[in-house]
């Protein structure tokens, strides 16, 4: 059993970055995720593992530091909250285009604009529909506990390097700020410079002796070459869609209805599920873990089996519900329920929505 600690979600994310063998963290303070860089600065990972930590002048700079560092084959990470993630979108598009591995964590807060500093899930579209320009996708992991804030960091790095892509971890102010027991995984070694040089021949860390120079770029002025590059990216996204869908089913075997939720809403929906079951409503929970690639296939299977309806529970005006509707394609009832602007729905409100919108609707 690993080391047990009582930690905030943000602290668990930071500690996991060190333990996952990250080489660099570059970030900028923003509520409700500032504990990530505060923890790292206090923890001095440059003494523990040699990991670099730097407070950048802006989120624009920190995402471009990921481009530079990730482009040399090093394991790099940043974190921010919604407005800061908006600022990073240009950089994320470049990282996707140049196929640079990195991890970006978004501790989502209420929007749009400056919004507030309360938990929200209104960045789903930005995360999975391409917040920046161009045809790209980002594998997106959605932790729903402090434990997963830690556990998903090494998974995110593995995905990032396996597919040479930026990977998002999308939580929210609730998961980031709350304290829970977390079992920390053991320290993983950082790769040496020589190992990075050998392992990632695409990386720009000094031209190999007698070899060709390496170039990291997202530019190709020849449209036919750029189309070919885009096809290569799309083939990669297809492979990710085929292999990396993650979800969890809770009380779904006999379910007539399903809540579909991720992150904080999935925690709330588990309580709603108990309340509904006490009332005799056979409802289960499909907890979405990868916002992209999306669990369309399991939704299709439940639809085929004759499920009576899906209620998407999100702290947003209804974003993920669109992907559920695409998977269901009109064959059964799909509705959304969620509070907006940083208001957290109660388990009772969710049950009420199920009764009114799906069962009685």
């Amino acid at each position: 059993m690993g080391e047990l600690k009582l930690m905030k979600g943000n602290e668990a994310l930071a500690e996991a970055a060190i333990r996952a063998g990250a080489d660099g963290y570059f970030g900028y303070p923003i509520t409700p995720q500032s504990e990530v860089i505060e923890y790292l600065m206090a923890e001095k990972p440059y003494e523990r593992t040699g990991m670099v930590v730097l407070q950048a002048e802006s989120e624009v700079a920190s995402i471009n530091m990921l481009y530079g560092g990730g482009g040399t084959g090093k394991k790099v990470m940043t974190s921010s909250s919604s407005p800061g993630i908006s600022l990073m979108q240009e950089g994320i598009s470049y990282l996707a285009g140049a196929e640079i591995p990195c991890v970006v964590a978004n501790v989502v807060r209420g929007g749009p604009g400056l919004g507030d500093i309360q938990p929200a899930q209104s960045d789903y579209f930005q995360s999975v529909k391409g917040g920046g320009h161009g045809d790209y996708r980002l594998p997106t992991l959605a932790p729903s506990s402090v434990q997963e804030m830690s556990d998903f960091v090494p998974i995110a790095f593995d995905l990032a390097f396996k597919y040479r892509t930026p990977v998002l971890i999308v939580s929210d102010g609730l998961i980031g700020q709350m304290m829970e027991k977390v079992e920390l995984f053991d320290q993983m070694p950082r790769l040496t410079d020589e190992e990075v040089f050998e392992k990632y021949p695409w990386a720009t860390n000094g031209k190999p002796k007698g070899g060709e120079r390496r170039i990291i770029t997202s530019l190709d002025l020849d449209p036919h070459k750029l189309e070919k590059h885009n096809h290569k990216l799309q083939a990669k996204y297809k492979e990710i869609t085929d292999n990396e869908v993650r979800y969890e089913l809770i009380d779904a075997d006999d379910a007539e209805y399903l809540f579909v939720a991720y992150g904080s809403s999935a925690r709330i929906a588990q309580k709603s599920l108990k309340l509904a079951r006490e009332k005799g409503i056979k409802v289960g929970l499909l907890r979405i873990i990868t916002l992209w690639p999306f669990a369309s296939e399991i939704i299709n299977e439940f639809t085929e089996k004759g499920i009576k309806g899906f209620l998407s529970v999100e702290m947003s005006a209804g974003q993920m519900v669109e992907d559920i509707k695409l998977a269901v394609n009109g064959r059964t009832k799909v509705e959304h329920f969620g509070r907006l602007g940083g208001v957290i729905h109660s388990p009772e409100e969710v049950v009420e929505a199920l009764e009114q919108k799906i069962i009685g609707g």
């Binding site: 481009y67 040399t72 000094g206 530019l219």
Partner: protein, 264 residues
């Protein structure tokens, strides 16, 4: 006397100049008369002479030199507009033993990327920053740059740059020389053989400081021309540059060994 053949002349002992192998054979995308080609060559000659071909990572900008990575035969990254110093910051911090440089134009370094420029210099990132200032946006078709001279006509200042309307030309090099993070700040040109030799000495000094672990950012501005953007012949552009730009952007060292040079 037997007739002299070219073959008799091409001998190692007669060699007076050779293109550095750190420039690729790809045809430069720059207009005839442009200073970028010379600035590229000098940079690459210095890296070759310092024996750092396999230990150098360069960062290219957005602008006319966006394709610098096609011509410079070392590992290169192509940055988003203005962000080269952020990339270089991370590269150098993660690979402190490598030689890291940025190569940027005036719009990239002194407009959209001002924050990254100032903060990389203020942190004293151990990188060489090469700044080619030709007072115009060349690649996008000759728009006003932060360094465009007062009265200078561009496609977005068609009646000449007016300080009341467009603000003043930005002497960013003098500005960053004030920062304690910079150690060597100089302004050079490459439009004559003599100027190019001086610029090469400046580049060499900057790269040597990084290699020798002298703390601080080194910053080399190269005042250059844009004959197509300025709508002049190459010769006229060079003359105009000497007469109009050099008085405002005077050549020479601004800061050496961390100390500001008294203004002339």
């Amino acid at each position: 006397m037997a007739e002299l053949s070219v073959k008799d002349i091409i001998k190692p002992e007669n060699l007076v100049y050779e293109k550095t192998k750190l420039m690729t054979d790809k045809t430069l995308s720059y207009c005839p008369g442009c200073g970028h080609g010379t600035a590229h060559r000098l940079t690459m000659e210095v890296i070759e002479e310092l024996g750092k071909e396999n230990d150098t990572i360069g960062v290219a900008p957005v602008g006319c030199s966006v394709l610098a990575y096609e011509f410079m035969n070392v590992d290169m990254q192509e940055a988003a507009h203005g962000r080269a110093p952020a990339l270089a910051t991370a590269i150098k911090r993660l690979w402190p033993g490598k030689v890291v440089f940025t190569y940027q134009g005036d719009g990239d370094l002194a407009a959209i990327g001002t924050a990254e420029t100032i903060h990389a210099c203020n942190r004293g990132e151990n990188i060489v920053m090469i700044f080619v200032n030709n007072g115009i946006y060349g690649m996008t078709g000759g728009q006003m740059a932060p360094t465009t001279m007062i009265g200078m006509k561009t496609s977005t200042s068609p009646y000449g740059r007016d300080a009341a309307l467009n603000g003043h030309p930005l002497k960013i090099t003098e500005l960053i020389a004030q920062l304690p993070g910079t150690t060597y700040v100089t302004r050079q040109a490459v439009h004559t053989p003599a100027a190019a030799r001086k610029a090469k000495r400046a580049l060499k000094k900057a790269f040597e400081q990084q290699i020798n672990g002298v703390p601080g950012t080194t910053f080399i501005e190269i005042v250059s021309n844009c004959n197509s953007g300025w709508k002049m012949t190459p010769n006229d552009a060079n003359n105009w540059m000497e007469e109009n730009m050099f008085p405002f952007y005077p050549l020479g060292d601004i800061k050496v060994d961390g100390k500001l040079i008294e203004s002339k």
